[in-house]
Symmetry: C2
Subunit: 143 residues, 2 copies
Amino acid sequence: MAQALDLAAAAGRAGEVPVGAVLVAGDGSVLAATANRVETDHDPTAHAELLAIREAARLRGEPRLPDCELFVTLEPCAMCAAAIAFARLKRVTFAAYDPKGGAVEHGPRFFAQPTCHHRPEVVGGVEESRAAELLRQFFQALR
Amino acid sequence: MAQALDLAAAAGRAGEVPVGAVLVAGDGSVLAATANRVETDHDPTAHAELLAIREAARLRGEPRLPDCELFVTLEPCAMCAAAIAFARLKRVTFAAYDPKGGAVEHGPRFFAQPTCHHRPEVVGGVEESRAAELLRQFFQALR
């Protein structure tokens, strides 16, 4: 999560919403370490989690990554939560909760839907205060 | 939708779940015409809608596409519905309903969530029977 927080901070300095993610394989190796690139890439889907999953799946040559776990600095949105389920990730650990756009503990609570076909283990609130502070400072600077 | 159905049929012949999408700009020009490429690209996020949005946003150099509308042969899942909202699409027209994985009229009903920040116009069931038949034949052949 420390690496994901560093990536988030760097993204914030580049004008992106500061969210970082690290995808770790079952053997402990890091398959992908990413941050938000929505504005940089002109891509509304370029959230840290989606980029990490795409990168790791490309490296593996395989769209499903059942031994892997994801560390991300913000509660995933519905897009990323569904991508996590499609990738069959084993576990997701996130830092800050996101009552406005999160879809794990808020809003659609995607993994609790009967139509969700894979439910990873979920751990929320790890390093929450540092991740939340990064986001608070970013949005305050925009005003 | 006819073009999206042709793309879906071709994807099915290539071993992908047969779903196609066409993204049309406000002036009527086609910005992207895509089909599912999850297995081909080893990418769990390579749904037709996500690929169409990414391609159109890249062409425009802009992550938001508020004048655009999407035609897709299957009710979008939560990942694609959230991507549609992030891209600020004006309208979404889909063919077959998807009670098992759809997230517009089923499951999380993403656009109806209070945490959804942009709600496109939605039209479902256009050319429903042709799209559903493609999917039925595809999954029957897998058994």
